[in-house]
Amino acid sequence: MNMMLKKTILLLLILTLPQLRLYSENVNTAVMNFSNETGGEGLAYISSSLADSLSATLSGFEDINIVERRQLSSVLDEIKLSLSGILDDESVSRAGELAKADVLILGSYTGNPEKITLTIKAINVESAGIIYGRVITAPLSSLFDLANQEIKVFASVISGKETGRVSVSSVPSEADIYIDGMAAGKTPLVEYMLPAGSHRLKIVLKGFTEEERTIFVETGKDVNISIPLIETRSSFPWTYSAGAMYRKPLNSPRSSDFESALEIPVSADYSFDRFIVSGCYSFSKMDHSQEIDSVFGIIEQTRWYTFHTFSISITYELLEEVRFYSPYAGLFLGGSIITDKKDNASYDGGWEKISREAEFVIGPKAGVTFFPEYKLRPYVEALFYFYPAEIIRKEYSSPGLAGALQASDESYRFYGISIGGGLRYAFR
């Protein structure tokens, strides 16, 4: 090995010696009182209480020895660091010496309770250089959280641990960001430094679902996260829906078949958290044409029911957390105006009203709403309908020659199923 190479290695060792000292041993760190620059005494308590809080947080790091705050009182008295906020090499060196600290955490704050600007710095006592600094602007209510979140990054830097940066944005913005359970600001958050490793990120904005995910920060790398926030169902209590149902009767009278029918429901729904109360109107026209044996052969008499149904339903959303779909189940009850009609060429319009009845109807219902957090939501639904009261139906028979059709009464109950779907539109 030549002389030149040896000199180079020696020079590198000399240059890195202070760093090695910093990284290889626990770093004595003192958190000084913060300088109150607000111009009043109302927020003076922050000066020491914030320092206490940050000290407590830093004490949780293995690589950092926190200088007892009680030991600092004499230092503070002597150099008045917390009051002046003005640092020079001599005072820093003196403070470090008095506190027996390698690194001083200090800073100042200004503003009012609604908006406080806090400056935090980590200063190497030996070099009097700033290792790391951060400015936080936040209301008093979240200042401590943010500062404690930040101090974790300080800890990583001080102890020589590796860090990376994370940028978080959301749509809409201004969402609160929590990292590892502590407030870290609002979106958009740009190049926020974090210790390398995995962190728990939570985004909170009133009226939107909370987003929580794990992020992994690699040393010296940037992590960009963009999160579209989805409005919660509670922010859309009213929905209006329209759809189409396939209505299938499950019974029929002797003389005819109750045919399946198209049912058109419209409803207005109101959500009480997971309970949904709906007022619904539906219309359907059900064929029940009857075949009549006559001297002219088998004649089909065209008949149909119209159902105008008004109902109220109460359903419960089965899942607490919903994103892509939300199943629900419940009951409905209401009444139908059932009109029996048949073709009759001698009547105006070509049809004759045979009877009209108002009947109570009840049944269970269940369905799934898709994308329940969006304004426009498809849904599918199935219900079983049952009319408890018997319905009187005219049965017609031919008298043969020399007379009109003869009617007799037959009673039966309506019941069946409806299956279909539609769209719901949500309003605030």
């Binding site: 009549i292 006559s294 001297v295 002219f296 052969g297 004649i299 089909e300 008499q301 065209t302 048949k342 073709d343 009759n344 060429a345 001698s346 004759e352 017609y396 031919s398 008298p399 043969g400 020659l401 020399a402 007379g403 009109a404 059709l405 003869q406």
Partner: protein, 163 residues
């Protein structure tokens, strides 16, 4: 002798008087019984239906005022004026003797030839018997139905002597 003649003359007067009265009565009776055109029925046999008018000429029954929606028709011939129940819209078939209807030979929505009138067979409740021409004293009723077999039209009960 004189009294015998007198008695004979009185008897003759009585006989003549009785004959005169009988003749007068006969004239009255004959006058009343020989009315050739009793009041013609105007209204259909049922209420709430449209009227079909029937005419008879040259051995053919003609039906008038039958709209297109009348798909099925029956021509009914009764031996006597039938009883009609307007509530149930039925006619007593005890005196039904013959007739024709849609789908039988020679029957159309406009007319039917009397040669295509068939005997009513109660067992079949249809006109499945032999041809039978109507005669004076029979009653004719025509009914019309739409495609759903609703009774929409009916004629008055015509006496055959009218034709």
């Amino acid at each position: 002798m004189r009294s015998d003649n007198r008695r004979r003359r009185q008897t003759m007067l009585k006989v003549m008087n009785r004959l005169f009265k009988a003749a007068a009565l006969l004239i009255i009776v004959l006058y009343a019984g020989c009315d050739p055109e009793p009041p013609q029925p105007e209204n259909p046999v049922f209420t709430d239906v449209q009227k079909i008018e029937v005419s008879y000429n040259g051995g053919i029954f003609y039906f008038s005022e039958v709209p297109d929606y009348v798909k099925y028709m029956q021509l009914l011939i009764f031996s006597s004026s039938p009883a009609v129940d307007d509530d149930s819209k039925t006619i007593d078939k005890s005196s039904l003797i013959a007739g024709s209807r849609t789908y039988l030979t020679g029957f159309s929505r406009a007319s039917v030839n009397s040669a295509n009138i068939y005997v009513y067979v109660p067992a079949d409740d249809d006109f499945t018997g032999l041809p039978l021409a109507p005669v004076d004293g029979d009653y004719i009723i025509v009914l019309g139905f739409d495609s759903d077999l609703n009774l929409t039209h009916a004629s008055p009960s015509y006496a055959m002597t009218l034709f």
